[in-house]
């Protein structure tokens, strides 16, 4: 500890943080050439406030205006008001003084021009002078306002219906960045660039703590998995997580389910025997035969009920009431009856499945991880474990900043995680188990 001085906004510290008051202003015009923008920012800091530029658009040509949207924070309501009043003299006006502007959708499946494009961060809109929270927060959507009582929710482009009232422009919209914890926790510690050099033991312990917290608080844990879980022989660890009530939602594709079922029926994954690692004769056909059997049975659930499928990840999902969505892709064999081949419908099902997520674990899949990252609000912590660092980088590049990356082989990661959980909670306290099918 160095001092009792109040921390700055950007440095997490164990010292209690003074409550911050905040408001957003916008300033436009030739704010760079005229030095109005630096002047406004200087005034904010000189007065004891701080700022964060939320949006800035710089004009391309000499006559093109620029635009900046600035969040002003101050450790007191009076000081904030003083700063806002001061910078208003220089043309920086609070966004909050206006209701959000709305325009009726003139067609299905497309927003009106100038629509407000959402982030994955908590957002409020002002309607009739009142701030209301935006529900179903998701990035890259629009915001639809309904009346009686006023309500706002994120709506993806494809789901918009003609006549719905859509927020246009930035006025009357405010976005709250993820709250910074006053205390450094494991996730603060991990929230840095992806690295292969992190102490994995510490991180896995933190992930275990999150899983325990979710189970204790009855929050849903979403697992997004790729087929490498099965290929590496880690399916049994995922089964243990499901059996112990740590997983409520599984999002995957045809491959994970197929190879899991192949493994359950033939002991192989893509024809490779998981016990001894040898290639089995005609093993390359196993996954097709597995798919075929499931299709003949009418799906995974009937296959479990009839006794055709007796173990494995999908079996445990059915047995333990884990909601799963298998989203199809263009290269899928079969696919399994349960695979949703309409991409928009798959998005809708996944969106619905992650709505109450408390934590998300992404393991060894790039496309499904990015897809789910796009759907999750920034408030949901995400751990992405992948042998390939680029998966984590891609997630962050697409705006899923809440993602913690862990570059690791799947099998040791899963094994360590299960061991950590068993050490922390050897006896299962609250079973999540669903009735037997």
């Amino acid at each position: 500890m160095t001092s009792g001085i109040n921390p700055t906004n950007s440095e997490p510290s164990a010292t209690p943080v003074v409550p911050l008051y905040r408001d957003e202003v916008e300033v436009s015009g030739h704010i760079i050439d005229s030095l109005i923008l630096p002047k406004v920012l200087d005034i904010i800091t000189a007065a004891g406030g701080s700022f964060q530029i939320k949006t800035i658009t710089i004009g391309h040509g000499r006559n093109d205006p620029s635009y900046a949207r600035i969040e002003v924070t101050a450790p007191g309501r009076a000081l904030l008001e003083e700063i806002l009043s001061h910078i208003a003299d220089h043309g920086a006006v609070p966004v909050a003084q206006q209701d959000c502007r709305r325009a009726a959708a003139d067609m299905d499946g497309a927003f009106p021009e100038g629509f407000y494009s959402t982030t994955n961060q908590r957002t409020e809109v002002r309607v009739a002078g009142e701030w209301i929270a935006v529900a179903d927060q998701e990035m890259d959507c629009g915001i639809v306002i309904t009346a009686d009582p006023p309500a706002a929710r994120c709506v993806p482009m494809a789901d918009l219906r003609r006549g719905e009232r859509v927020v246009v422009g930035h006025a009357g919209v405010r976005v709250f960045p993820p709250a910074r914890s006053a205390e450094r926790d494991g996730f603060e510690f991990m929230a840095s660039d992806v690295s292969t050099e992190k102490p994995k033991g510490v991180i896995i312990r933190e992930i275990a703590a999150e899983l325990l917290r979710c189970r204790r608080e009855n929050r849903n844990v979403v697992v997004v998995g790729g087929p490498a879980i099965i290929h590496t022989g880690s399916g049994k660890y995922l089964c243990e997580l499901i059996r112990d009530g740590y997983v409520q939602v599984l999002l995957a594709g045809n491959a994970l389910a197929t190879h899991d079922i192949e493994q359950a029926m033939f002991g192989t994954s893509l024809g490779v025997h998981l016990e001894h690692g040898g290639i089995v004769d005609a093993g390359h056909e196993h996954h097709l035969r597995a798919i075929n059997r499931i299709r003949r049975a009418g799906g995974i659930r009937p296959a479990v009920t009839s006794g055709l499928l007796t173990h494995g990840v999908m079996y445990e999902c059915v047995r333990h009431g884990v909601e799963y969505v298998l989203a199809g892709s263009i290269r899928d064999d079969g696919p399994l009856t349960d695979v949703v081949t309409d991409a928009l419908e798959a998005q809708r099902l996944m969106r619905s499945a992650v709505r109450d997520a408390g934590f998300c674990l992404m393991i060894a899949t790039t496309l499904h991880s990015i897809a789910v990252g796009n759907l999750l609000p920034a408030s949901v912590k995400v751990v992405c474990a992948d042998i390939n660092p680029s998966t984590v980088i891609k997630l962050a590049d697409r705006g899923s900043f809440q993602t913690v990356g862990l570059v690791t082989d799947v099998e040791p990661f899963m094994r360590s995680l299960v061991a950590e959980l068993q050490a922390a909670a050897p006896a299962r306290s609250v079973p999540h188990e669903a009735p037997q099918p």
């Binding site: 015009g29 030739h30 704010i31 205006p65 208003a88 003299d89 220089h90």
Partner: protein
């Protein structure tokens, strides 16, 4: 080339009837007869310099109507008529609006909730509108006017109440040259202007208070109040014809040569005037009988 046109208002009702800037003193007042003589002197110099003068009718009870620079901002055939900060001058607004309307201008309102005092606070220099704010006009209004006109606007903060309009401390002579008194501006404003105007002629404190920056420019002719000899030397070295004419009765009200005029066809320093004026105005603006097209 189109003849320069300038709007003026005869000082029939000029006087110091209130105090809205540090120069005004109702007790000292102004000499009405002398004021008319000085105004006539300025008018004569402008005519001699080649300008056509148009006049707005003076109104009793509106003593500052003589300061036509504050009537509005002319941009081609459009005019943004001022909304004055002080109630004492707000009575000028309908009168000025009426004049512009009768003379064929498209009248545009000042942006909602903002004050704007016309060419007193907004001066084109090249492609850029340099705009003074804080004391009379608002920065936000300038930004919105810039967006409306599609031109670059650099709002600069005025920090000395004696130089309450931009035209008391800054005067573009050409698209690349201006007279200025930097002490009337804050540091950001000084840097913004220094970055936008290639050649700046600085006036000293004493001549700034003689309203050296409140100059009327007609071609190479620059007309100011008397007592601006240092400026005269600088202008002469750059090839300008500087003429000084006594305007002491008007400086008592905080205005001088520039304040008494409004350039209707665009200032010489405005690029848009050079680039578009002959065709657009000649074709579209049915300006008054006094307009001339002689060269």
């Amino acid at each position: 080339m189109t003849q320069p046109r300038i709007l003026m208002c005869r000082p029939s009702y000029f006087g110091i009837e209130y105090e809205i800037n540090p120069w005004m003193n109702v007790h000292s007042g102004a000499d009405a007869v002398l004021a008319v003589q000085q105004w006539e002197g300025l008018r004569r110099l402008l005519v001699d310099a080649g300008a056509a003068i148009e006049e707005v009718t003076p109104i009793a009870g509106l003593p500052d109507l003589v300061f036509t620079a504050n009537a509005g901002l002319v941009f081609r055939e459009r005019v943004i008529v001022s909304r004055f900060r002080h109630a004492q001058r707000q009575g000028e607004e309908p009168h000025l609006r009426n004049w512009f309307h009768r003379h064929g201008y498209t009248i545009e309102a000042t942006p909602d909730g903002t004050y704007f005092e016309g060419a007193g606070d907004a001066l084109f220099c090249g492609e850029t509108l340099i705009a003074g704010y804080r004391i009379r006009s608002d920065a936000l209004g300038h930004q919105r006017i810039g967006a409306r006109l599609g031109c670059r606007v650099l709002p600069v903060e005025l920090v000395n109440d004696s130089f309450y309009h931009l035209d008391t401390c800054f005067c573009p002579l050409s698209p690349t040259t201006a007279i200025w008194y930097p002490a009337a501006l804050d540091e950001y404003g000084r840097r913004a202007i220094a970055g936008a105007v290639e050649h700046l002629i600085e006036v000293d404190d004493e001549e700034a208070r003689r309203f050296a920056c409140n100059a009327v420019v007609v071609g190479r002719n620059v007309i100011t109040n008397t007592g601006c000899d240092a400026l005269a030397a600088q202008l002469a070295s750059r090839g300008y014809i500087h003429q000084q004419t006594p305007l002491g009765e008007f400086t008592k009200a905080g205005g001088s040569a520039k304040c008494l005029t409004l350039r209707l066809d665009g200032e010489d320093a405005a690029v848009w005037r050079v680039s578009t004026m002959p065709s657009s105005v000649a074709a579209e603006a049915p300006i008054s009988e006094t307009r001339s097209t002689t060269t």
